[in-house]
């Protein structure tokens, strides 16, 4: 019925230091267009590791990964960088903004890199994204002048700048208080419902997960429920 935008086929990963350990064990699942999926599981079960593979940042894995129908196997580094730039919006647990740049410039950077629009247009789009997140008034401030919740919203605005295929988040609310977590959740929900945005969010917050379209539960490198 809907388009499969992310397809993982028997993905496995080993760590060799200090001893060889298989942390991801033949994981297969897919994400459809407009789906809001959460991944839960105990600390250390391999959620982050899986997400780094799915976001193309980690390339040493076994199995197949398809994004937008294209295999991500055996692609060169600059190719994968382009995929991340164009198709994936990433939100980290920590805010990871560039302190050298204004909020607006932080949001603009991936757009300037993609260069699909002129610099002026990218700036306008960045303002629009900041507006969606309700922080356009902070556009000209610098990251260190913002609160934790505001920073995370800037990071979400940044992940949206190139209209990505999918937004991935690694415990994006893990470092926020209850109130801010709810704000961020509502933003994600709004993106999924109003903009048909696909989301794949790792969380250890069960309450958060219950409200998503689908929960994938992991344990010890395997999916035990989805």
């Amino acid at each position: 019925m809907k388009d499969k935008i992310l397809d993982a086929l028997k993905i496995s990963k080993y760590f060799h230091d200090p001893a060889t350990v298989k942390v991801i064990k033949e994981i297969s699942f897919s994400v459809m267009k407009g789906e809001f999926v959460s991944i839960i599981g105990k600390s250390g079960c391999g959620k982050s590791t899986l997400l780094y593979i799915l976001s193309t940042m980690d390339t040493s894995y076994e199995g197949e990964l398809f994004l937008d129908g294209q295999s991500m196997k055996n692609r060169i580094e600059s190719d994968l960088a382009k995929v991340r730039n164009e198709k994936i919006g990433f939100v980290f647990q920590f805010h990871y903004l560039l302190n050298e740049f204004s909020v607006l410039k932080n949001v603009m950077l991936p757009g300037l890199k993609l260069a699909k629009f002129t610099d002026k247009e990218v700036e306008q789009r960045a303002y629009d994204k900041l507006k969606i997140l309700g922080i356009q008034s902070e556009a000209l401030k610098y990251p260190n002048q913002l609160s934790g919740g505001e920073k995370q919203r800037v990071a979400i605005a940044r992940s949206l700048i190139n209209d990505p295929l999918i937004i991935m988040g690694d415990e994006p609310t893990g470092n926020l208080d209850k109130k801010n977590s709810e704000v961020v959740f509502h933003i994600f929900q709004e993106l999924a419902q109003e903009f048909n945005q696909s989301l794949l969010i790792v969380t250890h917050d069960n309450e958060f997960a219950q409200k998503t379209n689908r929960i994938i539960e992991m344990e010890d490198g395997r999916i035990i429920r989805m």
Partner: protein, 419 residues
């Protein structure tokens, strides 16, 4: 990938760490300044020292050397043809040191387009009579005008007018050292004895000082006709023809050619003054070595600062990569930072180097042996600035290359996980 974005990101990183950047740039500036000043000064000094000899030396000197016959009678014998013969029975004959057929040679040379000009010369061994003793000396018979035109004669005539040689009959410009020994003042008449025993009186019209004591003690100058008269020779008598070429580098080849063509001996300036070239070469080499050492030290400064910057900017690099910047982009960002430091520091260094050279150029440097020099010599050769500029960019590029590569290889996963 757009260059503007790269420079934009580089600039932001630079500004965030402007103090360290400034220190790195000052390192480059300092070394380029010293490089330029040192080379300009050394080259100035080289030109000065070379000029002492080279300005006054003909590019090619044609003369007739007194030498034994090349073919001894035994060499002509059929029987001993294949042997190495030791019998040298024929000694040099009573030949004159004059060049034959000077008129024709001078005509031919004047027509040669590679020749800038020629100055004929006669050297005569004489004794200067001072009271009871005789001082040995050499009188050079010269064409005052040609000698000045091609060999800057007037630079070395420290009192009197060099043209008096031509205008006043039986006049002499004495070497300063010789004149001092003889207590000969300008206007005095001195007496010389020629090698053949003739005595002649000459009027001192000036002093000559080359800066080389051995020359000033012995050499004096008179006109060609005075010298011919002194030697009791006729009008065409010339012992040397000095040739100045348009291109000094042609001298060795042309010397051989003229030697064959005119059947005379010919020496070129390169062969005659090889030791000066060696001296200049070593001085230049030392200047370059010092300059390049300074630059390498500055390069290490840049290397350190870039490494530190990359260490501090790990998080930023990880975010850039996570959001779609490739390793190549990151590499270019940090190379741009290094090159900006190099270009900015280098340009400032070139300017300050020029300034420092100009200051050196103003420092008084008065020495009795160098009458024309009033301040330290400086050579404002544009080549030094080009080399300095290229070196500053090359060093910073190399200093920036490895840190930049390191930055480009940073694995974002490791950084992000490490938080």
């Amino acid at each position: 990938m757009k260059l503007k974005l790269i420079t934009d990101v580089s600039r932001s990183f630079l500004i965030a760490r402007w103090k360290q950047t400034l220190v790195a740039a000052i390192g480059v500036t300092f070394s380029i300044t010293m490089f330029i000043a040192l080379l300009s000064f050394m080259a100035g000094l080289n030109d000065l020292l070379d000029g002492l000899i080279l300005n006054r030396t003909a590019h090619i000197r044609l003369y007739n050397e007194i030498k034994p016959s090349k073919l001894q009678p035994v060499d002509l014998s059929e029987i001993y043809k294949g042997y190495y013969n030791f019998v040298n029975s024929i000694k040099p004959k009573n030949e004159k040191a004059a060049i034959y057929n000077t008129g024709a040679i001078i005509n031919t040379l004047n027509k040669d387009s590679r020749v800038l000009g020629i100055a004929p010369k006669i050297t005569a061994q004489v004794f200067f009579n001072v009271g009871a003793i005789d001082l040995t000396g050499v009188i050079n018979g010269i064409d005052a005008e040609a000698e000045n035109l091609f060999f800057k004669f007037s630079d070395y005539v420290i009192s009197g007018n060099y043209m008096d040689l031509k205008n006043i009959p039986n006049s002499i410009i004495m070497g300063k050292g010789a004149a001092e020994k003889m207590l000969a003042n300008i206007g005095d008449v001195i007496q010389v004895t020629t090698a053949r025993g003739d005595r002649i009186q000459l009027k001192v019209v000036g002093y000559f000082q080359s800066g080389i004591r051995d020359i000033d003690n012995i050499q004096s100058y008179a006109s060609i006709s005075t010298t011919q008269k002194l030697l009791g020779e006729s009008d065409g008598y010339i012992t040397d023809i000095q040739v100045k070429l348009k291109d000094i580098l042609l001298a060795p080849a042309l010397a051989k050619q003229y030697s064959r063509l005119f059947d005379v001996d010919a020496t070129d300036i390169q062969t005659a003054n090889a030791q000066y070239e060696t001296g200049s070469f070593v001085r230049t080499l030392i200047s370059y070595a010092v300059g390049i050492t300074l630059l390498i030290v500055a390069g290490f400064g840049i290397y350190n600062i870039l490494n530190m910057m990359i260490y501090e900017k790990m998080d930023s690099i990880a975010i850039l990569k996570a959001t779609g910047f490739s390793g190549k982009d990151v590499h270019r960002i940090f190379l741009t930072i290094a090159l900006s430091i190099g270009i900015f520091g280098g340009l400032l260094g070139l300017l300050l180097g020029f300034g420092l050279s100009a200051i050196i150029d103003q420092i008084p440097f008065v020495t009795a042996s160098l009458p024309t020099i009033k301040t330290y010599p400086v050579d404002y050769n544009p080549a030094f600035y080009v080399i300095g500029g290229i070196f500053s960019i090359a060093t910073t590029y190399m200093a920036g290359f490895f840190p930049s590569r390191k930055a480009s290889k940073i694995d974002p996963v490791i950084i992000i996980r490490g938080k």
